[in-house]
């Protein structure tokens, strides 16, 4: 099902089959050249597959934008251990709602992408880690997997290749941290989702302590098109080093929020004004959070940029997970900062102290500040704590909490100051003030 009207400006690659009747079924997938890309890769060496991926300049859609071909090349061969394929469909970064659509509308495209990964490293099995709240998707993906077995794309001696491969779904049970790759791998082993020390990275020591290809659901879903239509074509869709399209999840104060597939590098202001029908109620733009709630916000005047990994990084933010939150002039930045830190505090796994304590104190101070008990020196204090956390936590959840927090203060200090004027004078014991 589609939850918003598509836009004529979209360039449909991973969403090309969305909205077609029975798009989740294998027959319709096969009728649309389904599994042809996989068949092609069966004739290629692992090196040739990885070279093609590198040439496509596909970068990970899960958050960090790491080049996918390069990542696959890190998987050691001949270790005597099996290699596993893991699809990260934990999708929990606020602002992000695309993997859901990929699994709902085209699960075979995902399975085909994972199969190509599996064949490249001659893996015996792949797991699709799906957040627990997406129960209906587990049923859809399970049905698709069963169809793939029936047609010989999974199981023993796949298409006469002599290679066996199984795919399973694995449910999460409510934990944002399990989207972090090493915490996900712990969770997959039946434990609390606590991150692992890196290196070694999952490519070398991953699922079940074996070499592993771990990618986001959208990353895997983009792979069949690359082998169907060529790496050069895919690369040419976006700017250099930013191949292909991306499902941009737009939310907030626009007339037509929705998920739209657009080429990387698509101008942010055109996304707001042309794809999403402009700002709601004729309001002015205040800020945009360009890559999920962990990405530093951009002020309106910084929004004249293209939506690709490098351009957003140049603007000192990040393309992240593709969740684009558009905020109008009436948005209460202090309230937003508080809600953001509440989330990260709730989701911090508690393993490392800077993250556990940092998010807790930031929440406490922001709560008091927002509630009217703020003091002028709190502004610098919040900034200092967030800066102090950044880069010093065991996994990137601490960074994800710190970046938006200190950026809100740097870019909207005036709003924090204005809050002090509004503050109710309140007698708060000195201890609680810290």
């Amino acid at each position: 099902m589609l939850y918003n009207e598509p836009s004529p400006l979209e360039v449909k690659v991973v969403t090309r089959r969305f909205g077609k009747p029975d798009s989740e079924k294998i027959d319709t997938y096969l009728a649309d050249e389904g599994y042809e890309a996989f068949k092609k890769t069966l004739t290629l060496t692992p090196e040739a597959i990885i070279d093609e991926l590198k040439a496509s300049s596909l970068r990970g859609r899960g958050g960090a934008g790491f080049p996918t071909g390069l990542k696959w090349s890190f998987v050691p061969r001949n270790t005597g251990k099996p290699a596993y394929i893991i699809c990260n469909s934990d999708e929990s970064e606020p602002g992000t709602c695309k993997d859901r659509l990929l699994m709902e509308n085209d699960p075979h495209q995902l399975i085909e992408g994972m199969l190509i990964a599996g064949w490249t490293v001659r893996s015996p099995a792949g797991y699709i880690f799906i957040r627990g709240e997406y129960r209906y998707l587990i049923d859809i993906v399970d049905r698709a997997v069963a169809e793939a077995y029936e047609r010989g794309f999974l199981g023993k001696n796949i298409l006469g290749s002599g290679w066996d491969h199984d795919i399973y779904t694995h449910t999460g049970a409510g934990a944002y941290e399990c989207g972090e790759e090493s915490a996900l791998l712990e969770s997959l082993e039946g434990k609390r989702g606590i991150p692992r020390l890196k290196p070694p990275f999952p490519a070398v020591v991953g699922a079940f302590q074996c070499p592993t290809i771990l990618n986001n659901c959208e990353t895997f879903s983009a792979i069949p098109a690359i082998f169907r239509q060529g790496a050069e074509w895919f690369a040419s869709l976006g700017p250099p080093k930013n191949g292909g399209t991306r499902m941009m999840c737009v939310s907030g104060h626009v007339n037509k929020p929705g998920v739209y597939e657009l080429p990387l590098g698509f101008p942010l202001m055109r996304l707001i004004n042309e794809v999403c029908g402009g700002m709601r109620n004729g309001k002015k733009l205040k800020a945009v959070i360009p890559g999920g709630s962990s990405s530093p916000c951009l002020r309106a005047e910084e929004c004249d940029i293209g939506l690709d990994f490098d351009s957003i990084a140049k603007a000192k933010s990040m393309a992240g997970s593709g969740g684009i939150v558009v905020l109008d002039e009436d948005t209460d930045i202090v309230g937003l900062a508080l809600r953001t830190i509440k989330f990260y505090q709730h989701e911090s796994c508690g393993w490392c102290i800077p993250c556990r304590e940092g998010t807790t104190w930031l929440k406490k101070i922001l709560e008091r500040y927002h509630g009217g008990g703020g003091r002028e020196k709190d502004i610098d204090l919040i900034h200092e704590i967030a800066k102090g956390m950044f880069g010093r936590t065991f996994c990137a959840l601490g960074d994800a909490a710190a970046m938006p927090t200190y950026t809100f203060i740097e870019k909207f200090r005036d709003e924090f100051e204005a809050y002090l004027q509004k503050s109710r004078p309140k007698q708060i014991p000195e201890l609680a003030l810290l």
Binding site: P94, C97, R135, T171, R192, R339
Partner: protein, 166 residues
Amino acid sequence: MTFSPALEERFAKLLTSYPAGRTRSAVVPMLLYAQDELGWVSRELIEEVARRTGVTAVQVDEVIGYYSMLRRHPIGKHLVQVCTNICCMVVGGQDLFEHASKTLGVGHKGTTTDGLFTLEEVECMGACSWAPAIQVGYDFHHQVTPERFDRLIEGLRNAEAETRKV
């Protein structure tokens, strides 16, 4: 413990889904799928899952506090979850939660006296572009207004009254 045939089938599949000697991997899925059928995770269930996966009861117990969907107590028949994270918040998600709280007469994690509804304020559920969003059980509802919320609750109440009559 005995479970429904469908759940037994799921369990059997889970126990063969992971590499040899890795049945511990099935712990979290088993707990969640069993909770869906039984409503909550009891001491008995913990011990059963431990037995079936060949791990200690403590190893099962320790994951329950970590995963927010797993719970140690029964709740109402319908779990109503309202997202108040940022994308929902900026288009009325917080107000919607407060409205839901008023309609149901309970706060966060509260259960109505008739045992029909449990309300919960939750984090982003992956419906940000169609906010504000709620989940009732595993069903998503997008762009929920206070009026739509009330109609939904009324519908569920009426359906319950019907089944009680029969």
